[in-house]
Symmetry: C2
Subunit: 474 residues, 2 copies
């Protein structure tokens, strides 16, 4: 971890973050369990370590097995952990001393793990645990029952941390911008490398090679698929055929922990065919509508509604839907082909702070979450603020089973031309996703530019060398 230091902010940043939290809460002892390693198939064979985002935000140290305490009443901050032994040095190399790392984030009190029990009891405050190891350790330290720990919702703490993490500093925005720029470059590498005859998995390999090259990791398991209609498709065994499209939804996490989350859909050949081009343009128009409307004060549920209306308007033009776009959206007709939400916060997590519970992060007193199909998948509804960083990701997804179910049940029959829709049965899906931050007056797209207009995407594909096997040549 000798290069840990360079991926931390200055000491003052952490001191200020913790001071803000203390001021906001006023009292109590807050316990932050850092991440443990996560076993794959036995304890010592673990996945690549990722520090818990709240620990990272307030304490910056990226090592497993640490715990931190902020005692507001005593104005004391402690990091609990073990200094390296000779065995550690032999197995994992000379490490920076924990006390030095703690000092670099403004903490002078470092205690061994054995001391935790003297500082932590059942009155401790903690954020909702999302990892089973945290549940077990909190149980061990606090003597609270498993159920008490799992059901813990310290709403005041959740809201205080969310308030801080939701509004990004200029320094954070610069880092997210870097993550998005690298993510864009990863997409470019994939779009330039894809050829009919390749497997989806090969394209994931090209993306991952780039990630390693720039010392980043995947922020999440990417979607790389010719079945763009499967919303969270994490399988990669199809061979890409000419006339198909590839949907790539992937993001890089930089060593500081911040990430990008970008989607492009591109043709396996050089150009989209005409049906693909039509749907692509409808989705792109929806991106443009969101672009134009993002600003402080607007509720994101309204961005979602405007996006849905634009998608529906385009689908009416294509003869798939019929009627008035606003009326169709009021009747949830869009959910037949757009089953998910238009965006979410990003930051240290690709769905930022999702572990706190969406009701506290994406919604508030003025906007509560709808529970109906489609709307229930919208992670963000509340009014935007300067410093928010978020995704906009409209799409159109032709899911045969879902279309059949709705058709069979006579759903939306006044608004849908099911006969015309049938022609798109095996179309797949298209999604376009950009990342934005909200400024004082509007919004700025993050990252160096990546082609997004249909003609720009096709332009990239025209730069691709012809495939080795000419049988696939378009």
């Amino acid at each position: 971890m000798e290069n840990n230091k360079q991926h931390m902010f200055n000491k003052e940043v952490y001191l200020e973050r913790r001071n803000l939290l203390k001021k906001e809460l006023g009292k109590g002892k807050i316990f932050f369990p850092g991440s443990q390693t996560s076993p794959i198939n036995f304890k010592d064979n673990y996945y690549p370590f990722r520090q818990d985002s709240n620990f990272l935000y307030f304490f910056g140290i990226r090592l497993p097995g640490l715990f931190a305490l902020i005692d507001i009443d005593k104005d004391e901050e402690i990091i609990f952990g073990q200094e390296s032994t000779m065995d550690d040095i032999i197995w994992t190399g000379q490490q920076k001393k924990l006390s030095a790392l703690a000092d670099s984030v403004g903490i002078t009190k470092v205690l061994p793990l054995i001391s935790i029990n003297s500082y932590v009891d059942k009155n401790i405050r903690f954020l909702p645990p999302y990892r089973p190891d945290h549940v077990l350790l909190l149980h061990q330290f606090t003597s609270l029952s498993i159920q008490e720990i799992e059901n813990n919702k310290d709403v005041e703490l959740i809201l205080a941390v969310a308030k801080q993490r939701s509004v990004k500093s200029q320094q954070e925005i610069a880092l997210i911008n870097k993550a998005v720029t690298l993510t864009h470059q990863m997409h470019r590498e994939v779009i330039l490398a894809a050829k009919p005859g390749m497997k989806e998995s090969e394209l994931v390999g090209i993306a991952q090679k780039y990630a390693w090259q720039v010392e980043c990791r995947f922020a999440f398991s990417p979607i790389m698929t010719i079945q763009g209609n499967v919303l969270h498709n994490h399988q990669y065994h199809h061979t890409i055929q000419n006339d198909q499209m590839v949907l790539f939804d992937g993001g890089l996490e930089i060593p500081e922990g911040y990430c990008g989350d970008i989607t492009r859909t591109f043709p396996a050949g050089k150009n989209f065919n005409s049906a693909q081009a039509d749907i692509y343009d409808v989705v792109h128009n929806a991106v443009e509508v969101a672009n134009k409307n993002l600003r402080p004060g607007i509720k994101f549920i309204e961005i979602h509604r405007l996006t849905c209306i634009e998608l529906v308007a385009g689908l009416i033009q294509l003869g798939i839907f019929k009627g008035d776009p606003e009326e169709l959206v009021e009747n949830d007709v869009h959910t037949l082909l757009y089953q998910c939400g238009t965006g979410h916060f990003i930051g240290l997590d690709v769905h930022d702070m999702e572990s706190f519970g969406e009701e506290w992060i994406g919604y508030d007193d003025s906007v509560s979450k709808k529970t109906t199909f489609g709307w229930k998948s919208l992670r963000l509804g509340k009014a935007l603020q300067p410093g928010n960083v978020l995704t906009v990701e409209p799409g159109i997804y032709f899911i045969p089973e879902w279309i059949d179910t709705n058709k069979k049940n006579g759903h939306f029959s006044d608004f849908v031309n099911y006969e015309n829709l049938e022609r798109y049965r095996y179309f797949g899906g298209i999604r376009i996703e950009n990342n934005y931050y909200i400024t004082e007056n509007g919004a700025e797209i993050l990252g160096d530019p990546l082609p997004v207009l249909r003609k720009e995407v096709e332009g990239l594909r025209h730069l691709v060398a012809p495939p080795e096997n000419p049988v696939f040549q378009s």
Copy 2:
């Protein structure tokens, strides 16, 4: 998971494995929790799913959230899980029905998760849980306390499963052979791609690209380092300089779950320098000694001892150690430069069945584990049997802090020429690792050949294109 089926054995294999287990144990109800997904930084952002190896061995289905029961007394086998809903289809695509998957491994009774409580109680038998989610779920299902679950050691069950999994069938050996052949090819790609001026992380990217290309995954986080002396080095931020060596310890896991685990150390330039060549040959001679001696009946602790003697003999020749090789090993002098064990079982886990506890897997009544430094890291000591599959991985590691500690404390001073040793202070480390299976009469190396002789490794390096930046050219 539509391609799950092709990565399973025939139904009869699973039926036979379970029947053998039932026969061996004679009574009781055995509960097998499959793996859950492992969260990274929130619940729905999880690491690539890996099925628990015991679940995989007895039930073959590679899906998260499943549980299985073998009730020997009632001669009943059940898989518990949830069939897909329409929401699942929308988000993750059309899945094969769980009942069909269960049938393909010879199980006709499939029940929803809610039924587990009626079948499982505190008398249930289970293998030692190594995942925190398993501990929590066992607690929930059995009402046993967390401590009772974590301390559970059903030795009879452990030994029965270990007996089966330790002896690989011809079908399993063929699969491991495939995993090793692919692993060898991954090593070849790395050795052919490495150039001075690259970062270690770029080489990991080249390895991982190959893994995706052949639809495999890393069986464990690879070691790719110019600091070969750090035994489990999972950092990759160094730039490779001419005159250095790269140690790559990596293995691929094929979709069936079986893996390889191979190490090569190669020069960053075209050739090893003379000091590197000397040490390389010493390590390679130790590989040869192990090669010659592997056979059924020999205790692996003896293979380790013979390997240590050969390493020590070579180091005496180089003037680093002095005296009689056997005497030095008796006095643990080898542990100054060879701090770990010579090998371990591999199979579905890269340290096969390590979660059961090494004392039950690598040792038995006739060989118990030594607890002294060096020897305590030997995972395998007991007599070998036909069908065992294992690694042989001698090495020499110059760890400055460890040398200093021993020198300062006057350890081994009769046997070590510390002045000569000082010249190797910043040498790094060399390891060579092959995978073998034990036959009726001896042992066979697994996988298509990969260069291992010093001249062969240098030969591969001579095929590398010159680096782009000629300043690094040797």
